[in-house]
């Protein structure tokens, strides 16, 4: 029994790292631009397919192919921003959220159907020569690819954290999150900061998707679930705290996994949403968020 619990905690943590990675992308975009891009999950799905086809057609190892997937999604993000989202930068925050949600839903439907036409509704996953390898430690199994995915997610997040804390551009992004007017008055080109954050968010979604395609499976309809998961994790962790977002991802992963063990699969989403509501009631700024002012 105890080992089953430990096993589920480990699986929960491993998938939670990917929740964190996906949510950090959404949170970065939302924090800076106040765009609620609900096609974030579809971008993640496209990242997954990019990795899948790179492996299937050209035998590009999914881990080595990660930078390429990120670049592809950054380019897609750039196109989406320039074509669609740039029109909404001048709106007030409330209309921004409303309009980007509508546009995001539309884009999500388009991406999902394009994926369906191109690649069918089949579930896919990357099976490499090392995919079945499992490490055992104290009777708990650690699938190698999932552990590697988790570690990569962690490295990416640490890199992002350092970028935001240490570099000039990163500090400008954090400043814009807090007060774009004051940032603009210091000579920070907010339009550029918006664009950079948006494409970084797309890149992060792509990375998460690629990692999902190695350790788990992908399908055209996965987007909405990932968007919702990212939203929940973003709010759980609290805006403006990317470390908090990652930890919230882990928490959600473990919660879902233990619910699955104790209550069965039906209650997985229910308990996740209950946790979400509980945090909203008790700590509306999120577990690790800072209060305004």
């Amino acid at each position: 029994m105890l080992s089953a619990v430990a096993q589920n905690v480990v699986f929960g943590l491993l998938v939670g790292g990917l929740y964190g990675l996906a949510a950090v992308g959404l949170s970065l975009v939302f924090g800076v631009t106040k765009f609620l891009n609900v096609s974030h999950g579809e971008l993640l799905m496209l990242g997954g397919y990019a990795a899948f086809w790179m492996y299937t057609l050209f035998r590009v190892d999914p881990f080595f192919g990660l930078p390429l997937v990120a670049v592809l999604l950054v380019i897609l993000g750039f196109i989406l921003y320039r074509l669609v989202f740039v029109r909404m930068t001048k709106l007030n925050d409330e209309s921004k959220i409303r309009n980007t949600m509508l546009v995001g839903f539309g884009l999500g439907i388009i991406f999902q159907n394009v994926a369906l036409r191109l690649w069918s509704a089949d579930q896919r996953g990357i099976t490499t020569t090392y995919s079945s390898q499992v490490l055992k430690f104290l009777g708990v199994r650690f699938p190698v690819v999932r552990v590697a995915s988790f570690l990569i997610a962690l490295v990416v997040l640490v890199a992002l954290h350092l970028f935001l804390k240490r570099t000039y551009l990163g500090k400008a992004i954090r400043a814009t999150v807090q007060d774009w007017e004051a940032a603009a008055l210091l000579g920070i080109g907010t339009e550029r900061v918006y664009l950079i954050s948006f494409v970084m968010g797309a890149g992060l979604a792509g990375l998460a998707g690629a990692l999902v395609s190695v350790g788990y499976s992908i399908e055209p309809s996965m987007g909405l679930e990932w968007t919702l998961t990212s939203l929940i994790v973003m709010v759980l962790g609290g805006l403006g705290s990317f470390v908090g977002t990652f930890v919230a991802g882990l928490l959600l992963g473990v919660t879902q996994s233990l619910t699955f063990l104790w209550l069965g699969g039906t209650y997985r989403e229910v308990v996740a949403l209950l946790l979400f509501l509980l945090v909203l009631v008790v700590r509306p700024q999120g577990l690790f968020g800072v209060k305004e002012g």
Binding site: Y168, K171, A172, R174, A175, Q178, D179, E181, A182, A183, A184, L185, L186, G187, I188, G189, T190, E191, G240, V290, G293
Partner: protein, 233 residues
């Protein structure tokens, strides 16, 4: 140096400024005074590019600013401090100051400007590692002004720097503004604290209901009957 010529501007359906004109010469300290809602803040935001005017022009050495984005206007030497300072509370004092020197041009003079800011506000040097959110109201105002100086501006636009501060601090902030002006930075000071502002400045404009209704030396305006009765009674 800075000329505002016949500006109309507003928010959506509400016009806030009607043909506002004013001028700040090189190295001058000029006040813009008037009651709440007269259009003082709007005037500053038009100059700094946050609000686009519907008519008129803003000229810096004859070069029009109204088509330039805010960050470009900062690079050209116009630096605004928003009402309440609006420091980035989640960032440290040092990070706030660093961001004041964001443009490539300002980054070159960063060390020099930092030294100058710390000389003006030694308190900021002591607190450089602290999060700006932990500062007192007066310290935040100092940080906001210091941050605006980091781009080495030719003109500083200050929006109600005394707002919400204790009298002793107000005096200190005003002394600093005079000091900054003496170093060669022109200042356009928006104040509701009319007496203090008029005593401080060489020249002032009075704005009411979105229109400039008076101009003159601080002393002259202080003796204006309408101003005495409206603001100083």
């Amino acid at each position: 140096m800075l000329e505002v010529v016949g500006i109309d501007a507003g928010y959506k359906d509400l016009q806030a400024l009607w043909g506002v004109s004013l001028r700040v010469n090189e190295g001058e300290l000029v006040a813009l005074v008037g009651p709440n809602g007269a259009g003082k803040t709007t005037t500053l935001k038009v100059i700094s590019g946050l609000i686009r005017p519907t008519a008129g022009n803003v000229l810096l050495d004859g070069h029009s600013l109204i088509k330039e984005p805010p960050h470009k206007i900062v690079e050209l030497g116009v630096s605004q401090v928003l009402e309440g300072g609006r420091v980035f509370t989640g960032l440290t004092v040092m990070e706030n100051l660093e961001l004041g020197a964001f443009s490539a041009k300002a980054r070159k003079g960063r060390a020099e400007n930092l030294e100058r800011v710390f000389a003006l506000f030694p308190r900021l040097k002591e607190r450089q590692r602290q999060r700006a959110g932990t500062l007192s109201g007066g310290e935040r105002q100092m940080l906001a002004i210091g941050r605006a100086l980091m781009s080495n501006p030719r003109i500083l636009l200050l929006d109600e720097p005394s707002f919400g501060l204790a009298p002793l601090l107000v005096e200190q902030i005003f002394r600093m503004i005079t000091e900054i002006n003496k170093q060669g930075v022109a200042v356009l000071l928006v104040e509701q604290n009319v007496r203090a502002a008029l005593e401080l400045t060489q020249r002032a404009y009075v704005i009411e209901n979105g229109r400039v209704v008076g101009e003159g030396s601080g002393e002259a305006l202080l003796s204006f009957e309408s101003i005495r009765s409206a603001y100083l009674a």
